[in-house]
Symmetry: C2
């Protein structure tokens, strides 16, 4: 079993600095790299507007070997054309030279405003002074330096066998990961068979980062990568998978609860589906419904909106409203009970009670077969609208 | 050519009354019926949680003959089980008896809160006193009586040949019609071949009501129907189609501009698509993006969010970011121009200017083939969140 630990995996060095991608003096430039060769498993956004960072990193990770990543926060370098691509190559090349690794073994990730060129003069100035050694550890700093509108850093670490696994993530808006999340990096000193590592990584990502949605908007920059340098020796793969799932799920819940403007985490547990894909589709329809999200925000026991959202899956003709069951926490709200208006009032009071908590659980049983999937999201608030009405200006 | 007119089509009688479905004394009960037999064309929500009103009306409209519709506003009668179904049958049967038409020639539509039973005592009380004749005309009253959170009634009328066509609609939230809209009724005294009428109706609905989205949430109650009683004789079908398109598009724009909390109409014109379906998919991705909608609300020239939304169509692998063009009004924002930060600033100023108007036009040219589709929506505001956080309570 894995347990929380403040320790960092051996052999990972981290550099962070305020380079000036935004004008607030915060750290916005991060290099995270193993001091020895490492294997990598990675997944990326499927956006048709993926930026050059994603394109370069996807290429670099393809052979399963990569030693680290350079991360630029507050500017996505997306929709920036040939100039943006040349800039990404220049930054990665320069950092790889400093690290003494081949360019093709370094990932690059970038997150922030779309459609703006990097401030290359500031970046070049900083790269000129960059020199080894970087201090080992420092995941705390890294988890802060990759933030954009996050209100808090996200970091989770566990022990697995004789090794350590740590994960950091950022992401609070433009957030419906499609094959990956925003920026998430895992580092471990465990040693795993590279192909097995990759299968484990993809299985876990699918049940965690691909199960979260803040606002249905898929980022152009989604990147999730696990670096394993083997310095702590072999670990049991099943134990490692459990540890990775623990870390990833904790990050996902932290991300959903910190969604832009969010005040509550929403967990939608779908069971009884034809298959996993249907369970996920129905869960996403519920967790992404603006009317469900606003009702949760207002602690309004308007449970009918959940049935509406399930009903939106109109291609799923095996969903039968006479068999579906819906609950909030332990309170079953549908099918309707006899008892008229008094019964309806008591039910609404019980639902409102559950909604007043920080974590809202909505259960949907489709009663078709035994497919199940749980998705995570957050409420929709005036804060989300305010924040996103004035993001660039 | 069609022209606006205040006249009503001949032979349609309307009854409205405050029956008490909500406790505010407003009209909430409407009967709209032709005084002579009529043909009907109708489309309905594809929601898997369609209410008994939709199920009964779909059946009734199947043979193309129906004389009118009874509409109950402020209670959707959805997710109400067998009791709700029995109530819908009772209401329709009683009204049909008063009108002296077979039950199967009367549609029923209901809109409002989901998951509550009708207040049947109040409704029965009203039905007991219901008697012919209803006054002819009165589409103004009807357009008000079917409202829920609409801030204004929606009614458009035109002349077509010697006939008149009028349309009324309600709908401002839970609004991404799927084969139909919320409640929309058209009445005309034109005479058309029933099959041709139906083809015209479906073609027009597809380009108008199926092209609007307020918040991605598909209603359980969507119903659109055209009643034609032929009292004004034959009309030219092409002319009628144009008139119906004019009326429907005017209603759609009125609906989008009156979206819950909305301050601006957003029109997304997609061109250069592989086919119509792709153009519609891309248009919906843009007009439904919460990040695009909030940026428009804040007049924030954050055009990169439009490229993000186009990129979300990840199955459309023929979308090539090197060929896509994006504009706000007449201002092309993508592909990026050379010229660095100064050029970027000037561009953002021009976009911000366009955003300050009441109607925002976003153009996306995919440069693949010549498929085109235009969709309509509205901005996302704190008012939407406020309104929907406290709808039932």
């Amino acid at each position: 079993m894995s347990e929380p630990t403040p320790h960092a995996p051996r052999g990972f060095a981290i550099h962070t600095a305020p380079v000036g991608l935004a004008d607030d003096g915060r750290d916005d430039f991060t290099v995270l790299a193993s001091t020895v060769p490492a294997t990598v498993s990675a997944v990326f956004t499927r956006s048709r507007f993926a930026g050059p960072s994603v394109l370069l990193s996807r290429e670099a990770a393809a052979d399963g070997r990569a030693q680290g990543v350079v991360v630029l926060a507050r500017n996505a370098n997306v929709a920036t054309g040939r100039e943006g691509e040349a800039n990404a190559r220049e930054v990665r090349e320069s950092v790889a030279r400093t690290l003494g690794v081949p360019e093709a073994e370094l990932l690059i990730a970038s997150t922030g405003v779309i459609g703006r060129q990097y401030p290359m003069e500031k970046i070049r100035q900083h790269l000129k002074g960059l020199a080894l050694p970087f201090p080992e550890g420092g995941f705390d700093r890294a988890s802060r330096a990759i933030m954009t509108t996050d209100t808090r850093p996200k970091q989770v670490g566990v022990r697995v066998g004789g090794a350590t696994l740590v994960g950091i993530a950022k992401g609070v808006g433009m957030m419906e990961p499609d094959m990956a999340t925003l920026l998430t990096f895992f580092a471990t000193d465990a040693r795993l068979d590279p192909e097995e590592q990759d299968r484990i990584f993809r299985r876990v990502m699918d049940r965690t980062f691909n199960a979260v949605s803040i606002d249905t908007d898929t980022s152009t920059s989604d990147t999730a990568a696990l670096f394993a340098n083997g310095l702590a020796g072999d670990v049991d793969p099943a134990e490692f998978e459990e540890a990775l799932h623990t870390v990833a799920l904790a990050l996902v819940k932290d991300i959903a609860g910190d969604g832009e403007g969010a005040s509550k985490l929403i967990e939608v547990q779908v069971t009884g589906a034809r298959d996993t894909a249907q369970a996920k589709r129905v869960g996403k329809a519920v967790v992404n419904s603006p009317l469900v999200k606003t009702a949760v925000h207002g602690c309004d026991p308007n449970w009918g909106r959940v049935t509406m959202a399930v009903g939106k899956c109109s291609e799923d003709t095996d969903i039968d409203q006479d068999r579906v069951r819906v609950r909030f926490g332990d309170v079953e709200v549908y099918p309707p009970r006899a008892g008229g208006a008094d019964g309806e009032d008591a039910l609404r009071d019980a639902v409102a009670d559950h909604l007043r908590g920080d974590e809202v659980v909505i259960g949907v049983d489709l009663a078709i077969a035994d497919g199940a999937f749980t998705v995570y999201g957050c409420d929709l608030t005036e804060g989300y609208v305010r924040l996103n009405s004035e993001y660039t200006t």
